[in-house]
Symmetry: C3
Subunit: 479 residues, 3 copies
């Protein structure tokens, strides 16, 4: 294997320099030190996580510790956390030889992103004008995880084609753009988007697609042997799918109103996702000659319903309304994999490794529209007077807003997220095109050996390049 291993390395480094021994450590160290300094200057515990809480309780007449926001949010937070790290990470392990990159780089950029998100979202949403500090609690952690989700979605479009340094740069800008568009949509337009159909999924989807467009690789077919899945990698990917699917009710309800808001968001999302599974299976079966199912569809399109209910989950969309949204999302998303993805690649030159257009971008837009319509159709008879105020937060500057106006602002928010995604992605893509980031050559895409010490190389791809034995990928090659 000594030979083989050497041969592989030579082969890999033929055209492009994927040596990241300088850039990756430098970026990690410098950025982490920057985080420490900025956290030292800006970030403090909020009053519910501060040791002075005992005084706050007395002052605010809070009778029990259980009314600390921690107990309203923590179970949802942990579910969201699992979605970010196991859900997104394992969903991308479907490629036959990119599991380390999928799970590992997902881990890396999420860990950086959540720190940067706490700062960016803090500056835009919760900077205390008197002290100049950002006070964080469990809801801030959820929001940071949400923000990171946008960047992980974008990672799906470029999976296997970029270096970890590029991913970190993409995350730095992605989080920054996210915080700004979120500020515009949620604070200025005062749109509601608890589960982030617009701010997370639409933005993240178009951000990733735009980057992928700019980084278009005309010769990507040279690494075709590494594309596609193998049996076990598809099973690993189902771990990701299922944890995303199961915990999506927590995702959509994590920052909704205490009480009925969280309760309703869970019910709606649960139902919507169940409906999506059935139509995904139906379309997937229809697409094959003998009705066989395709794992790509089951792994991805079953989740589209959760995306599409991100805005409306907390509204009184009613249980059958949630089922209807799921019904159409399963159809549209699966058809996306069958018809739209090939079109995007051939015509628009967008190479979308995980099909995020079908799983996030399109369903995100649907979610924005569903949210706008549901908001515009809200009425006092359905929500109750106070319920309407609570659900749409018609307080302060917005206390006179009508539901129809709200619907309009929801639609406007939708457009903002698309624009931020497309324009932001195009700009960031151009930055990532610089030849300094150590990205892999076209023939080495989707291969973990570029950035990871892999103990047993996949024999077939280096030892016997021209022999019929190369048909066999013998998995465990001893050294």
């Amino acid at each position: 294997m000594g030979n083989c291993s050497q041969g592989c390395k030579d082969y890999f480094s033929r055209q492009k320099n994927t040596n990241i021994r300088l850039t990756l450590p430098v970026v990690c160290f410098v950025w982490q030190i920057a985080m420490i300094i900025l956290f030292g200057v800006f970030i403090r515990y909020d009053k519910e996580s501060n040791a002075h809480w005992v005084e706050t309780k007395a002052h605010d007449n809070i009778t029990s510790d259980i009314e600390n926001d921690f107990y309203f949010r923590y179970p949802s937070f942990q579910d969201v956390h699992v979605m970010i790290f196991v859900g997104f990470g394992f969903l991308m392990t479907f490629l036959k030889r990119y599991s380390f990159g999928a799970v590992g780089f997902n881990f890396l950029i999420a860990s950086f992103g959540l720190q940067w998100a706490l700062l960016m979202q803090g500056w835009f949403h919760s900077l205390d004008p008197q002290t100049g500090k950002i006070f964080i609690g469990v809801e801030s952690l959820i929001n940071a995880d949400f923000c990171v989700a946008g960047c992980l979605i974008a990672y799906g479009a470029v999976l296997g084609k970029v270096s970890p340094v590029q991913l970190l740069v993409m995350t730095l800008f992605g989080v920054t753009l996210f915080a700004v568009e979120e500020y515009i949509i949620l604070n200025l337009l005062h749109a509601r988007d608890a589960g982030g159909s617009m701010v997370i999924h639409t933005f993240g989807g178009y951000y990733g697609l735009a980057i992928s467009r700019v980084l278009y690789r005309p010769n990507l077919h040279q690494s075709k042997r590494m594309q596609g899945s193998v049996y076990h990698s598809d099973t690993f990917a189902m771990i990701g799918t299922l944890f995303l699917w199961m915990f999506w009710p927590s995702f959509n309800s994590a920052i909704t109103d205490h009480g009925d808001g969280q309760h309703r968001a869970v019910i709606n999302t649960y139902l919507c996702l169940a409906s999506t599974v059935l139509t995904t299976v139906a379309i997937s079966s229809l697409s094959q000659k003998t009705g066989k199912l395709d794992m790509v569809h089951i792994q991805n399109s079953t989740l589209a319903g959760g995306v599409a209910l991100g805005t409306a989950a907390e509204f009184m969309i009613s249980p059958y309304g949630a089922l209807i949204v799921g019904f159409f999302c399963g159809i549209i998303s699966t058809m996306g994999y069958i018809f739209i993805s090939p079109f995007l690649e051939k015509t628009l030159k967008i190479q979308d490794t995980c099909g995020i257009h079908n799983l996030h971008a399109m369903p995100g837009v649907i979610g924005g529209i569903v949210g706008a319509i549901t908001a515009a159709a809200a009425s006092e008879s359905v929500y109750g007077k106070q319920g309407l105020i609570n659900t749409f937060d018609f307080t302060g500057d917005f206390k006179d807003r009508t539901v129809l106006t709200q619907g309009g602002y929801q639609a406007a928010g939708m457009c903002v997220s698309i624009v931020f995604g497309v324009v932001g992605g195009a700009i960031v893509g151009s930055i990532l095109k610089l030849p300094i980031w150590g990205d892999p050559a076209d023939e080495n895409c989707f291969d973990d050996e570029v950035y990871w010490e892999v103990r047993e190389p996949s024999v077939m791809f280096c030892s016997y390049p021209n022999r019929s034995e190369s048909n066999f990928s013998v998995e465990h090659c001893e050294s």
Copy 2:
């Protein structure tokens, strides 16, 4: 591989038509549309998930949002949800080449089943006579997941031998039967069964076994090469085992009384399961010449304690009582795998792929008996006057029932669940025997290639059927 793939297909379709391109999509679409219509007519948010909750709170003098039932049940709900989709799904991935079917079909039928369960259970348990509506909240979602569990258990008996269409039919009838027997046991007989030893495990177990009996395949040995596990598939199955094992305390406590009821059910289940692991290991080791352990036992029998405490978990069975139940369940369940399963197959012609008789049916019956005895032995000194009333719900029509009578009704409930399982399974099995469902031929059982697009076929089984090289299963065959 072109050859091979074609050859495989011919081979598969020799005897039976497994083309489900018409039936599967039709069933999915029609049933999902039916769900939407029925949900539109019947299902509404309950008062704790309705935007009018703010009024309910004022009306009922509820001081804090944290008293919304959501916060009592949601963490348990999410754990149960994980058990249904990851637990049951991955537990069945142990077969070498049926992981897609295990996880994927589990996903499909659970997603359909939970919708149908909300309707069926709603009609039987919570139809509001005035409005004619079913009001759902988080407890309804848990109950729907529970109901689905019964059908997933039954799936274990027929794993690898049926088509997804048959599974959907099995689930439709399974959920229906479940709702009826549950109504009889919990409402008419007023038996207690929070974790479902009787209504879920005993019913589900016998339902699956009866179906498998009717669908008996005398020539199943023809697909013997696909039975059994490989190294990685056993590791995947352990994911299912562990998530079931870890979250079983949530399962048994999810719908018990607030406060001490949930608390006690968790402690009892936790202890019982720990005890089961030790005796399972002991018997497994005894069963082999050199004391080696068998993954089949570790994957399944370790869970028997959770099943057997489904009824009694909320009772004051006391910690050592829970350990005793677990002790015997580990022994009985493991011995079931060693002695009873071969007997069932040879003598009773019941082919039980996952051994649900040992994991669900028998421990379920034990659980029913343990529950009856524990109930009959309850006393005011142990429970307290009000504690006894709360635990056994001796209110309304049942306020004068004695614990001894309660024990009798528990035992009666046990019998009802067996009868429903056996008779229901026999009838549904006959329906599934019709030659229209696209089930696989005997020699193609336990093979994902029948219903899934598998990118790399398992070479050995088609290319070199008669050569010594066929000893090698080369896993990754490139196309």
Copy 3:
């Protein structure tokens, strides 16, 4: 394969007798029966899990069931439970052929250990002097899981080199020692250690290392072919890594004070772990010629931050303080894998399979020091008067203790845990050296076939020992 299988067995049993058909079942049965008897004598439900809770509520003027400690602790408990069984279990599956042993033996010893821990911790911490009983609730379950964690850490050092009987013996003594050192540290010295940097990680780490030292195998290189990982086993191990990483905030906050204590511990741990990931990646990349990452580092060192914040997580270490701890832990732990582990093996003759010295022992010591410094630096201005009392529990006998004294006692606690680990481990190691436990021969270490029925043996290691074909590990060998 008949031949091969027989050959393998002969080969395995050449030097050592690994037949555990007598010892394993006997130990399991006898110990489990002992547990049942001891539980019968000592263990009872506490007042919050007792059916008399309704009376307790009335007596203590508790207005809502939600104030039952269950609702403060249960979500954290389930997360900790997942860490113990899936986290620790799958983290150790990285070896190419020891996944069954990793997950399965972890399952076995944790299941025994938690029962024994409930008794040992009960006797030392919560034995009611009047009744002579131990009253358990959800917090007891968490503590039992914590106690078990210490033994699972120790398992990491001897992974693949011991028999399950040895592991059970190691757990019996480990839990016993744990309960004593915990009593000394938490009760006598009154040190704070909510997440167990000292009592769990430092103790467990040194306990395992000392045992490994005593059991030193000079000829371990004979099983070198079984050491190291393969592609899929590394992916499985990432499941363990991620569940540990994600749920570590729950681990460190599970038994901290209600309200701000739990809230703050979560925030600190979340941040610390994020920071660790970046520096781990940086050092890992620096350590390879072309900057490639090493899965060993990513799987393990990313967790060091959680260990090192075990003591200080509940203190007002402030968000940037948490980041700084994580920053250095990532560096130190990764460097440990690169430089210290080889040194330990060569010079000190400590063979540490999982590198627990780098993941638990060293970061645990750091955590003890960080805790001592943070405690000594605490002030009334930062904590508030009552906050200081609550956080450090300056009540009863300790109400006059100053923070400086507290810092000293924290440091003393640190030393106690090291001494217990080293001395205890040396003694237990000597017991485990007796030739009666069925441990494997040097050339059969790290191989599941010794203690598990493995359906397809790894062909290369038995069929073709001296041929070049042995380079191929054909994974699925049909019998």
